[in-house]
Symmetry: C2
Subunit: 224 residues, 2 copies
Amino acid sequence: MPDAADLAPMNTPSRRKFRREGEERRRQDLIEATLNSVAEHGLEGATLRTIALRAGVTAGLIRHYFPSKEELLQEAYAALMGRMTEQAKAALVMEDASPRKRLAAFVTANLNAPIIDARVFSLWATFIGRAGSDPSLARAHREGYLGFRNEVEAVVAEVLAAEQREPDASQLRHHAIAINAIIDGLWVEGCLAGEMFSPGELATIGIKSIEAELGLAPERGENQ
Amino acid sequence: MPDAADLAPMNTPSRRKFRREGEERRRQDLIEATLNSVAEHGLEGATLRTIALRAGVTAGLIRHYFPSKEELLQEAYAALMGRMTEQAKAALVMEDASPRKRLAAFVTANLNAPIIDARVFSLWATFIGRAGSDPSLARAHREGYLGFRNEVEAVVAEVLAAEQREPDASQLRHHAIAINAIIDGLWVEGCLAGEMFSPGELATIGIKSIEAELGLAPERGENQ
DNA sequence: GCGCTATTTATACACTTGCACAACAAGCTC
DNA sequence: GAGCTTGTTGTGCAAGTGTATAAATAGCGC
């Protein structure tokens, strides 16, 4: 449908006003608009025009910052993964706490907002669904996954060391895989049906389950 | 590009030969072609023409069986979910075995082919990614998930009863949630990076982890 | 204020998409 | 084999797609 300019046959140049933003800002905005579009309507609904509309610009501008739509999508996915892993690891930097407390904090952080989030899950699922046919996506995922699992393995080693236990490499790996699965599985459940769980319930379940996996005696008295 | 008919200016009627298949067969073929298309190129790549080509028919025929593309996709998703839950539950019907063996068989079945499968995972992720914005998809998922979890909870109750333990409803629910997460998490890991694990390794990890979760003493002598 | 440049808009284009519909023929009944 | 039903094809169409490119203008250095 033509816009109102057609109805004013006068001398309307009527070109859209615009502002020049910084390059980094524009790229960021476009990536954010892309992620929002994908989260809401899937990859199919993320058209250049939709994305541009969300970012408050016209479609043509996208090509000025990204050589093709494919590049924009890849950068958006990279940004998403970066944010996810960054948040996930952030809970591990409590230098002073005991290994066990750090592990618990890690689990708690990963099983509450903002990591438990329907929008982020939708994005993850949408992109990861193409990992089977897109090798670059598959590699990006595997790197992120291994990095995550290595973090887990490191903390687990610390926790067990503090308990005077000396697992071999194979046992350590198995623990890390299992704990990673527990966190991932609870994350999926929480994202897909968050209202089925009371606040903090998933974290409680996760911590207990992981303690059982590691053969740790339950902590007493701490919090309820 | 026009087809070869243009190059033969004779009397070529040259209409494509076809066979009339049964209705159920055609619907099944179209659904299968849809799932294959989605698995390979995502929802965006699943166009009517692509699907028809895969099914060996022309695009127009699809409308004869499905009122719209949306309906076809919904039926395809329903078929996928049905197959998945059916396979997952199939391992539970060993009437005679002990509860613990049934649980182990259930876990083993869910962490090996054909349930661990990159194509199925790709499909699951692609569809579930839209659960956030499509309420009918979300409901379909939740029903499947709860059904699965209830199955788990029932077996867990049997296992614990056989050990003379009497968990209350809350403990039972927590166990079911955790075990479900373990299976789901390992399933995701296996589908996305199956070659990182030796055959049967995921099942071994899952069984051990679940036994730890339930506080069961490890079985001895059975298999390694 | 005055250019200049690069950001931004707007338009064009070739192509694809889902859907509609008319023409056709496969396979049944007689 | 004739006739009919309907499954199937082929074509058309309006809307939307990504990309290319020309035209405009915002905001900088001067």
